[in-house]
Amino acid sequence: MFILTKRHDRLRHQGIITASVALGTAVIAGAIVMAAYGANPVAAYAAMIRGALGSGFGLAEVVVKAIPLTLTGLAVALCATMLLWNIGCEGQFVMGGIGAAGAVMYLAPVLPSALLLPAVILCGALCGAFWAFIPAFLRVWGNVSEILTTLLLNYVAIILMEHLYFGPWRDPEGMGFPGTPLFPPAAMLPRFGETRIHLGILLAALLVFALHALLARSKWGFSIRIIGNGPRAAAYAGLNVPRQTLLVMAASGALAGLAGMCEAAAIHYRLQEGFASGYGYDGIIVACLAALQPRLIPACALLLGVFIVGGEQLATTMQLPASISRILEGALLFGFLLSETLGRYHIRLARPTNRT
């Protein structure tokens, strides 16, 4: 079939090749699925691009989606840099929303209104950090795979959120509609002008710079990258891996929690059905496409934002399910993996006489 031999030179134009292979795979896979569904792929892609990039509203919505995607992308990338897989960002995102709503429920009556928003932000981050700390602790103490525990806790967080907005935190004036009460104005993250772009964009930008600086330049970042080179490198350098695991996972959870806090305090203004919409899982793709580099994450987040907004627009203009964005994301990740192989190996077809 195929024979792969190691490349000893670097592939030229690696960045362009990665981008085009990944995007090409996504576009082709999406076209096949749309055609199978009975839709015209060209018309559908045109509608997606027009919907996401063809108007000021569309562009602003792409940025709105890119804010939580940047934060969850950072969360996954930070962990993956030291070979930890945090695929529980969805749950940490939900916990961030719960933290924000909880701060509004219990602190709004007692805190001066100027302090309410900082409290909301802090509670969101802390709840996310707490949710990621559990798998980190189990990993350190019991060597339990963080892949499975972070993921399983997603379901627990979502059930907890449903319990809260169907039960004790339900809005008594919600007219039977399940959801927590609307946030008071003092707990809302301010938006810019007529758009839904909110203050979270500054938070996200700040964290991108901070993480880039920390990972690239600080002693802490250096030690994380050494641990990421494998357990033997870490042991040789005499690093305290358990402590870094707890710290990095908690920081990662805080980032995802902030994403959830932003969605609660700037978009929905409450917890309700549909709050957990997959930004946590999208973070995995953002982080991979960015090759775990914080400085590349915003661009990748914007790309996924285009997919998501395009998918939503497709749902309204052509009555196609918005989940097309998820198919594109999955195929995008496969395309990215393909491009990695292209960068690492020479691929050629085996002659029929060769046994592979």
Binding site: Y155, A331, L333
Partner: protein
């Protein structure tokens, strides 16, 4: 009292089958050295394919085979990336889960709320008359009986046949297996695709027999629970069956409390228990394992093989 226990056990058996199939398949894939985290995605697409094939043909056998075939097809994608292209298997599996979730949600919209093929309960002659045991195990749908056959058969093939030996050898030390003439690539492809067929079968069981009809996200994490059960089972099919039964029991308790209206434990707490118990089971298994979790796992799990090294 006995009636209650029989009722709970019957539901527990019924609720464990999808996890059981998926875990059996994943054991084969991992035993051959391929980690496939795409089980959830393969189950979802298998469940949808089962519904689609069922409404197209009206034949439960073809519907089941449709689910298996599509599960296997998705596994082929993972196999190509993991085995031939030698990519990171964790990421390839996650990509498969995301893709499968998207595919099932996109293509499944046409089937939401539609009446679907429903597999009937088929009591086994004679065996159904055994008191208690007959009620629990032999008044089920045909796919449950298939699990009774496939699990011991899967264990037998893996541990008692030449094929099973080859699968295990490839998963432990691919280079040595290759040196004695085992076709590593073929064994890994075969095991991974078999794993996908089993995940698809598990999904089809959910959408044809357990809760007939297509619902978005019908698996609710059962694919991930199956992967956890593989670790709990230390890669043994029979122990995976036990793990799946534990999951089934916790699910059954939820139904029992809802059906009887007794709310000793709030329903939302019960809903979280299968996930929390799975985590607990992982903790116990890891604490009991003195080899830091590496002893039981196939040594070459997740490591691509090539002759050139």
């Amino acid at each position: 009292m006995l009636a209650d226990i029989t009722f709970i056990s019957k539901i527990a058996m019924k609720s464990s089958v999808a996890v059981c199939f998926a875990a059996l398949g994943e054991i084969y894939a991992e035993r051959s050295g391929v980690l496939n985290l795409g089980v959830e995605g393969m189950m979802l697409v298998g469940a949808l394919a089962g519904v689609a094939a069922g409404s197209a043909t009206g034949n439960p056998v073809l519907a089941t085979l449709g689910g298996m075939a599509v599960g296997g097809l998705l596994a082929l994608v993972h196999a190509f990336f993991a085995i031939t292209l030698r990519v990171n298997q964790t990421l390839s599996g996650l990509a498969l889960t995301i893709l499968g979730g998207g595919l099932s949600s996109f293509l499944g919209r046409a089937y939401i709320g539609k009446p679907a093929l429903r597999m009937r309960v088929w009591p086994v002659p004679y065996l159904k008359d055994i008191p208690v045991v007959g009620d629990i195990f032999f008044k089920q749908t045909a796919l449950v009986y298939l699990a009774y056959i496939l699990v011991p058969l899967g264990a037998w093939v893996l541990f008692k046949t030449r094929l099973g030996l080859r699968i295990r050898a490839v998963g432990e030390d691919a280079a040595s297996a290759d040196a004695v003439g085992v076709n590593v690539t073929a064994i890994r492809y075969g095991s991974t695709i078999f794993g996908g067929c089993m995940a698809g079968l598990g999904g089809a069981y959910l959408s044809l027999a357990y809760t007939p009809g297509w619902k978005e996200n019908i698996t609710m994490g059962q694919g991930w629970i199956a992967i956890a059960m593989v670790i709990f089972a230390t890669w043994h099919p029979m122990r995976a069956f036990a793990g799946a039964l534990l999951f089934g029991l916790l699910t059954a308790l939820q139904y029992f409390f809802q059906a009887t209206g007794v709310e000793i434990i709030p329903v939302n707490v019960l809903r979280t228990i299968p996930y929390l118990a799975t985590i607990l089971v992982l903790i116990v298994v890891m604490r009991l394992d003195r080899t830091q979790g590496r002893g039981a796992a196939p040594a070459a799990l997740g490591i691509p093989f090539s002759r050139e090294g």
